[in-house]
């Protein structure tokens, strides 16, 4: 009964929606199944690009797929050692 009332007033998320959402997140991870070699490649390229603009700590870089609230994000933690002097006009 209480269950019905909470539903009636829309306070409870329907379990169907919960299932869909959990499934969506799980499948993103499953399908991504980014192999360590692909992840390594991505890391190398990121380092190359970012190094053009700043000096970074290559050994301390962390790149992971993680859940951020309702979505999946590629999270990169890239410690910056020094910013390069940019010649601004």
């Amino acid at each position: 009964m209480l269950d019905f009332i909470t539903r009636l007033f829309g306070q409870q998320k329907q379990s169907r929606e919960t299932a869909k959402e959990r499934l969506r997140l799980v499948l993103i991870h499953d399908r991504a199944s980014i192999s360590p070699s692909v992840m390594g490649e991505l890391k190398e390229e990121l380092i190359a690009v970012i190094s053009r603009y700043m000096e970074i700590d290559e050994d301390a870089i962390e790149i992971n797929l993680s859940d951020v609230e309702d979505s999946v994000a590629l999270v990169a933690n890239i410690p910056v050692k020094n910013l390069k002097r940019t010649a601004q006009a």
């Binding site: 009964m1 269950d3 019905f4 009332i5 539903r7 009636l8 329907q14 379990s15 169907r16 929606e17 299932a19 869909k20 959990r22 499934l23 969506r24 799980v26 499948l27 499953d30 399908r31």
Partner: protein, 264 residues
Amino acid sequence: MGEALVITSGKGGVGKTTTVANLGTALAKRGNTVVLVDADIGLRNLDVVMGLENRIVYDLVDVVEGYCRLRQALIRDKRVEGLCLLPAAQTRDKNAVNPEQMVALIEELKEQFDYVLIDCPAGIEQGFRNALAGAQRAVVVTTPEVSAVRDADRIIGLVEASQLPTPTLVINRMRANMVKHGDMMSIDDILEVLAVELLGVVPEDDYIVVSTNKGEPAVLHNNSKAGLSYRDIASRIMGEDVPIPVPAESEGLIVRLRRMFGSR
């Protein structure tokens, strides 16, 4: 020359064996010659579901190892014309057979039957690869649960990675009332994530338990909801254009009364 279909799922307990038994029986009732191959070596079940367990003399491994002729291992179902079972071995394991041997076996069966239905074991190991080896088409069975759909997704990927075309999907044990109340994923929810073609939807049906108790596929029973859905799926496998009805469960009086008074 017949066609070989593998019925697979990844997760166990979603109804692969029930699906194979019912589709095979339905296809045979429509006048096709059909052989059901139990590829679940070591954990055979299709014989029991079909009610043919007492007639096994030789099995699939005996055939592959040359202890008997294929003809000797085939069990003819006396209830339906043109229906046969090739049972799995119970005392061996999945490594007793390799994919090359399965390809040869299925080829031989295709020469004699219109349809070869292969009951795949759960999992993604050797048994799965064996079951896939001789097939031209794959049918993935799932239920509207997160775990089953997740495994179905993995299996679809593995089937595509082999040389087979994208599998079609059977959603089993659907409960229309639960979907209506927002407590079960709908057909569309599942198709949205899996992005495959739907072959059929089978409603939850208590009669499946009864039919398994008896060893009599539900399609032989005229009042089984699941049996009717399996007949439709068999027609679709034969290439007929049968629309897929959205299962609307007829509600019992109790359910309606409960709804009226707002409790569940």
